[in-house]
Amino acid sequence: MTSPALSLFNAPFAALAIPGPTFLERAPLELRDWFVHLFPAPAQWLVHHLITIVAVLAVFGLFFAFLTIAERKLLGRLQNRLGPNRTGPFGFMQPFADAIKALTKEDVVPAAADKLLHFLAPVIVCSFALMTFAVLPFGRHLIPLELDAAVLYFFAAGAATELAIFMAGWSSRNKYSLLAAMRALAQLISYELPLLLTVVPVVMLTGTLSTQNIVLAQGGWWHGVIPHWHVFTPWGFAGFLIFLVAALAETNRSPFDSPEAESELIAGHLTEYSGFKYALFFMAEYFGMTALCGLGVTLFLGGWQAPSVYLQFIPSYVWFGLKLIAMILLLIWIRGTLLRLRIDQLMRLSWKLLVPLALINLLNAAFWFQAGELGGAFAIARWPVSIGLAVLPFIAFGRRLGRGLGPRTYRYAP
Amino acid sequence: MNPLQICLLISCGLFAIGLTAALARSNSILVLLGIELMLNAANLNFIAFWRFGPSPAPASGVIFVLFSLAIAAAEAAVGLALVIAVYRHQKNIRLKEASRLKG
């Protein structure tokens, strides 16, 4: 009896056998097939999977490495300084130097710590962050695992992050770590809600949970120029903005990095971590950010679809990479620009602004779809109505958000 | 042996473990977790019958489990809220001591 689980893992690669339009589009597949055929037939399926995993690990590992250096250099620029520029040409070897440093550092574990959990936390957070890459469609034929419930899988795998943070905070046997972990958890749980709620309209309109199908649903162009990406609809734009904010918070990025605010909290739940374990957490954070950006690209920015019909000759995975990089650069820019939020402001932002806005956006998307179905004048009239539905609640809730919040007062200081 | 029977045996085992835990442990959180396990065992049964049972309706087993998951979530939320309320009241959560309805 063949295991259905295996067929589950095999099925997606059937899609990869479809010949692509150009050689470049198919080039990664050809390369893989050539390599797989070097092995004896019984081992081929194993090699097939392994090579996919290795490819994802290698690409995103390198991506992570250069992401750190890009971020540091860019932040340097934003803050009017140079950033790392000593190691290698333009300092590009810095991440590798950092890696060596982290590996060779002493791994300090508190004596009272729950050693097993203390060890497991970084492993779990890193492995689950990597697992989320499995369902991202990197190109027309490039998707490691084509699942029917891919979006659900993505968030299910992401759920482990919370667990890992709790484990890290609790196993450290340090009340500050634990407190920080609880705060981080509160933040993650609060922002998971708007994040999921902005995904719902996309799923609702495309009628599928499969990431590949969501990307396919965004194919096509108006007049060959303006693509049918969700971000170019009022609800999609509003949803993308909410998604962006929630994704920032989910990945503990500035301005939502109060759980581990370096300058205030000595790294929160990571206080008792050092050396390579700390590096793993660091890495997981960047993987998580990359994955969430990838999901954002998939859901709202048309995934690997080219922005114009005339630009289709460029392979789809290049487009995906470009969009991913653009979005990550945006996040870095935001990090260099905005101030950190206080924890109560942060919770207020989620529950009083993002969640209601996301719920209204859900209605907006439903309205958009229904009006589109009616066609004719409705298809035009839905634009102003939908824009209004996106903007007016924002103004209304945004005005209420700051109400009752006086300037910050200090009880024990003049 | 029929695969359905194997699945049912697994679910029996899970149910029995849940019950044993709910009976043996005095901590109300653990009792709740035992009950959650029993719910999970029931869900296992649904999926087993859906998968291996005779002529299943297209989605009924899955949908039953989905509803059951929702109810389990509600149960966990309310149950644990009650545990916290009990703790605030009697400063511990031993089920044995929470035997009065008086506030």
């Binding site: - | 019950l19 709910a22 009976l23 005095s26 009792v31 089920l95 044995k96 929470a98 035997s99 009065r100 309805l101």
Partner: protein, 671 residues
């Protein structure tokens, strides 16, 4: 741009929306409430102008849009909108005058704490009034009619903390309800007789020839044609709303409301609703004229009521001392003129007078409001005086309104409309008595208006407030000026060509011979009235507030009777009031003696049964119950031992029971 009749509902809908906004606005949102109301009114005005253009393309057409409101069984109740020149002219008038009064109100009500509520009510009123105008269904008219009544009740009683205002609001509401009962009966009868309430419905409406011929062929009690009876019942509603004799008593009291309300409701628009209604159903009212031997025609009654009201109102106005009350009785009198015109068959003249009257009466009321506002709410003309130099603009505009009302020739629109009515009365074949009444009222109108102007604006200031009066702000004077201009400009509707008449009723021959003799007579009468007034009141102006009126010293008893408004209130109190009081007494006594006795007897019976019961219970039943309870208690105590409150115990019991159950089933199944 052509205006579709389907969109006609927008005209009342805009003020309704403004009313909703006003209702939802907190007290502080003055600008929002007033702005919404004024914007809605101006929007309706623009829409009305567009509608007027559409209507004038073919003045004889009745554009309708009907739809089913709801269906019960096989019957379907239909509502609809109607656009014809009558509707369009009225809409333009109401929205124009309404807009100006709204603007005026922002100045007049500035200090009032319930500013937003006021504008909410005003908008509601305007919406209801416009609803009457655009309706193509008597039912819709009735609904709007009652809404108008409600809004007027709310507005008259706006200062409900004043007992007089609250009483006046109640009086207005109840009095008009009496008329509305007739209206409702007429409406129901009409529906019973024709199965439809639509005015025009491609030949099936109640105002169209087929239905009317059906209605006049049937007769009811007294040999009246059905159409006459229905018409008279509906006319009851118009009597109530338009303040006609004998239901005119509420209108002067309604002056307790804020002055803009008086201007809008009790001068320009609401009271005109009755006249409009009769003009609207004029085909129905005049249907019985085709019958050669009708015992009485509906329009004859209308004429009689109108003539009596016109003369009576003018008489009473002569002896009033309250500024707004004089204007109120002049309104009663002018409405009588309109009814008279309707009765003698010239509904066009009635509507013409309605339009011009709306403008100059609104002008007069707003002028009065300006005076009252300036004089710190002093309304007694004996205590005013000498205001002309202090309030030049108010005086000038008020004088224009006064001359229009008095019928000063040629320049003022009031003259033309009054002439039209008098000519129509002259041409009435039945009797010349209404003409005589009308001519008498002309003299009196000129006289009391001269008296009013003389007392208020000339002579010495006779109170502290009048001494320190000063001109009102621009929000109040600009509407005055606009209304004054309109008052003069409206002459163009009748002269040099009878344009309005052609547009309103293009089918009728409009060559109503303008007998110059009658015109000269009426001009002369106006001159007499003005001269008399000037001679009595201007030659020797009043010097102190307490001095007696010259007329009062000449004929004290007659003046006193007029000042007490011919005792109608006392008459009603003595007759109807006493009658109802007696009826109430009777009902009370019946309740106390007859029903109360029955109840007491039943109670005594119950008490006796109770005594018997108690004896039986104590000695027989209780003993048994006591022992039964004891048994239960013992059992309960034993059972409660198992209720430990220990969740584990319960769970264990459940598990064991479940195991046993399954065992039984398995063993039983195996067997």
């Amino acid at each position: 741009m052509s205006f579709s009749v389907q969109l006609l509902w927008l005209i009342p809908a805009l003020p309704l929306a403004a009313a909703a906004i006003g209702a939802l606005t907190p007290r502080g949102g003055r600008t929002l409430a007033a702005g919404a109301a004024i914007a809605a009114m101006l929007g309706s005005f623009v829409l009305s102008c567009l509608a007027l253009r559409t209507a004038l393309v073919d003045p004889s057409a009745h554009l309708t849009h009907n739809f089913t409101w709801f269906a019960f069984g096989s019957e379907a109740l239909q509502l609809g909108w109607l656009l014809d020149p009558l509707t369009a002219f009225m809409c333009v008038m109401v929205t124009f005058v309404g807009s100006l009064i709204f603007i005026f109100s922002t100045g007049y009500m500035k200090e009032d704490a319930n500013f937003t509520r006021f504008f909410c009510f005003l908008s509601l009123f305007a919406a209801a009034m416009l609803g009457i105008l655009v309706a193509n269904s008597l039912l819709l008219v009735f609904v709007s009619w009652e809404l108008v009544g409600l809004a007027s009740y709310l507005l008259i009683g706006f200062w409900f903390h004043k007992p007089e205002a609250a009483a006046a609001a109640k009086k207005a509401f109840i009095t008009t309800r009496i008329g509305d009962l007739g209206f409702l009966l007429g409406l129901l009868w009409l529906y019973h007789a024709t199965g439809s309430l639509l005015f025009y419905d491609n030949g099936a409406g109640v105002l169209e020839a087929d239905t009317l011929s059906l209605l006049i062929t049937e007769t009811t009690l007294g040999g009246l044609a059905v159409s006459t009876a229905i018409g008279l019942l509906i006319f009851c509603g118009a009597i109530g709303k338009s303040g006609q004799f004998p239901l005119h008593v509420w209108l002067p009291d309604a002056m307790e409301g804020p002055t803009p309300v008086s201007a809008l409701i009790h001068a320009a628009t609401m009271v005109a609703a009755g006249v409009f209604l009769i003009a609207r159903i004029y085909p129905l009212m005049s249907a019985d004229l085709a019958l050669p031997e009708a015992p009485v025609n509906a329009l004859t009654i209308v004429t009689a009521i109108g003539a009596i009201t016109a003369l009576m109102g003018a008489c009473i106005a002569v002896a009033q001392n309250d500024l707004k009350r004089v204007l109120a009785f002049s309104t009663v009198s002018q409405l009588g003129y309109m009814m008279l015109a309707l009765g003698v068959g010239s509904w066009v003249a009635a509507i013409f007078h309605l339009l011009t009257h709306a403008f100059f009466k609104a002008l007069l009321f707003l002028g009065a409001g300006s005076v009252i506002h300036a004089a710190h709410h002093e309304q007694d003309i004996r205590r005013l005086g000498g205001l002309a130099p202090k309030m030049k603009l108010t005086f000038a505009t008020f004088a224009i309104g006064m001359m229009a009302l008095a019928g000063v020739p040629f320049l003022f629109s009031g003259f033309w409309s009054k002439e039209a009515i008098l000519h129509a009365a002259h041409a009435w074949p039945v009797s010349q008595l209404p003409l005589a009444f009308g001519l008498t009222a002309v003299v009196l109108t000129a006289f009391y208006m001269t008296r009013l102007v003389a007392e208020v604006f000339f002579g010495q200031p006779r109170s502290h407030a009048a001494e320190h009066a000063h001109e009102s702000s621009a929000t109040m004077t600009v509407p005055l000026v606009l209304l004054a201009v309109a008052t003069i400009a409206l002459s163009l509707l009748a002269w040099p060509t009878p344009w309005l008449a052609q547009k309103l009723d293009p089918l009728a021959h409009t060559e109503a011979a303008h007998g110059h003799g009658l015109m000269i007579l009426s001009i002369a009468l106006v001159g007499v009235g003005l001269g008399l007034g000037a001679w009595i009141y201007l030659r020797k102006p009043r010097t102190s507030a307490d001095a007696a009126d010259p007329l009062e010293s000449a004929a004290p008893s007659a003046f006193d009777a007029l000042a007490r408004r011919l005792g109608f209130d006392e008459l009603y109190a003595a007759t109807f009031g006493r009658l109802f009081f007696a009826l109430a007494k009777l009902a009370d006594a019946f309740d106390r003696l007859v029903w109360g006795g029955v109840v007491r007897a039943v109670a005594a019976l119950g008490r006796w049964i109770g005594v018997v019961n108690q004896e039986a219970e104590d000695n027989v039943l209780n003993a048994g119950f006591d022992s039964g309870s004891e048994t239960l208690r013992t059992g309960g105590r034993a059972y409660s031992a198992t209720q430990t409150g220990d969740a584990h115990g319960y769970l264990l019991t459940m598990a064991v029971a479940f195991v046993l159950l399954v065992l039984v089933l398995v063993i039983g199944g195996a067997r």
